[in-house]
Symmetry: C2
Subunit: 338 residues, 2 copies
Amino acid sequence: MATMADVARVAGVSRSTVSYVLSGTRPISDGTRERILRAMKDLNYTPNVLAQGLAGRRTGIIALIFPLSEIGFNLTEFEYIRAASEQAREDGYNLLLWPFGADDIEEVRKVVNQGLVEGVVLMEVLTTDERVPFLIEADIPFTMIGRTADPRDLAYVDTDFEASGSMAVDHVASLGHTEIGFLARTQADLDAGHGPVVRTRDAVLAAAKKFGIRAHVFTASPTFPAGWDVFEEIRRTAPGLTALLELNEPATLGLMAAAAERGVRIPQDLSIVAVNASEGAAQMSKPALTSLSPSHGDMARLAVKYLVRRLRGEDYSAFQTLVVPELIERGSTAVAPS
Amino acid sequence: MATMADVARVAGVSRSTVSYVLSGTRPISDGTRERILRAMKDLNYTPNVLAQGLAGRRTGIIALIFPLSEIGFNLTEFEYIRAASEQAREDGYNLLLWPFGADDIEEVRKVVNQGLVEGVVLMEVLTTDERVPFLIEADIPFTMIGRTADPRDLAYVDTDFEASGSMAVDHVASLGHTEIGFLARTQADLDAGHGPVVRTRDAVLAAAKKFGIRAHVFTASPTFPAGWDVFEEIRRTAPGLTALLELNEPATLGLMAAAAERGVRIPQDLSIVAVNASEGAAQMSKPALTSLSPSHGDMARLAVKYLVRRLRGEDYSAFQTLVVPELIERGSTAVAPS
DNA sequence: CGAGGCAGTCGACGCGCTTCGTCGACGCGC
DNA sequence: GCGCGTCGACGAAGCGCGTCGACTGCCTCG
């Protein structure tokens, strides 16, 4: 591992000169620059990130904080992580993975104080998320995937759940459905103020009211068997229900299996709209689900880009994006049965 | 951000003394230790990782290299990543995510030369994987999830696909099936020497031969529609087939949908065994899949543990684990139809 | 009673890099 | 011909920490 001193010696210049050709902070004549670059090539030189970080302030590392307690399978999370790591690399950053429970905030402070990380991408942001004021107060640059209740001047990328919910209701209303359900995740998620679930539910209920449609809310843990159970619950408590909007793919798959078992046909007897499902997940059933699917990968990439630009000193007050997904009709919605 | 010098000043000792209580390298009297620890608490001191890394040689960072080209959804990968990051944190390490194509090896060298990373966990190892000799030659400590054709003295954790394949065949043979199929992933994966697929296929074919069972190999990309297609292919080219062993959940879901459509009942008309599917994935269908499911999370955790122990200087020649999964009968296998 | 040993502490150097202040050399205008 | 501004390059001072050598008492042993 060659050091900068080696390069300087080989090129016959001082260390600082080498440093300046690397950073471009000061003018260097073409001649010396050439010599230095050649020396770097010859020696197979790569700057030591730690030393750079210590001396300057740039470490080239950003962290992705993701919640570790989630149960059930979650492709969305995976898409976030994969896309974020790819984007980070494309922007010349390393992506550190920090699995934190929403509670151990102090841990975050600790790790940040280590000086390793320049900025942070927060995912699975709650509408009231104590991590946010914490990061602000700690003066750590960050962007969010998701958003708090009032993300005034914070940088974020999120799905427009308000729009999604009302679009979903529009869709089933136009098909003539008059009694619908909304399948959320666990009651705990609702209580915790999980943004996607809460926002979508509220939008669905509001839109339903507007259309004069009866709407029920159901909860289920994101697992296949839970979906099975919730199907029974629906038959029992809302027998007239003909359309279901859902934010819970694993349970929905279970629910569809239960429906098939019971002879309830989809979409003839029951229409289903998947809100915020990834494309892949929406196509993972039979029939494939009519869905509102934003590209979670794109969202994560954008959040990383925002962070990088913020680290470069750009004004980030305008780094706010709400993605309005398109409604894609697949096979799971149809005109309401008479 | 307090520094070590601050702590020393407050505690009324020299910097080196502070350093020694941190590392425990030299004896410190209880009195001074107490004072120093108190000062650290008071100042909210956290050692600067970069400086530690520069001065000593420990950065407390390990990297997880994962392939970025994979298509389709892959819960297994996700489980690896999540579990690895959690384990790393439990062991006091930070986990860096490196999405590398199998080809851009030189990138790895570059990033390693940056001095940031102490060691590497390699996932999705091919039977012939050029990254392995590269890492050996570069003298970078690493462990693998998966293994090369001859992982003689390398540290790895992998599923025992040989055992899995033959157990799967045992199972269907004992149910009286005499013509079976093996559903792999893409032909490209087979050609590339993708360990799980190749090893399982070979084991299945060998076991089938032993039992005098006819065995066909099918390939499909890991997507729902591809499974649909492969079902048709099976009907066409192997109409007598009554059991399918698979290593491709997305396609299997599609295949099952196609089967339902065609009136082929599972398991009465067609038995299915999922090899190496995660528990969650196996339960994500109707009927749930009889499967051989190792815990991918545990495997990743173990790979990280091995790496950490290797970094601590332990002899790693015995860090080799082959996980033999149990066969769990769910609803997708039955006695062969007559 | 003196030599040796050991627990406990300090100072200084170096890890590889950034950056600020400085200086030599050159070209220009008057 | 002299002074001055510019360009290009240099040296040195840190960044926060690990670690080696050395020093100081004090205890032990012969």
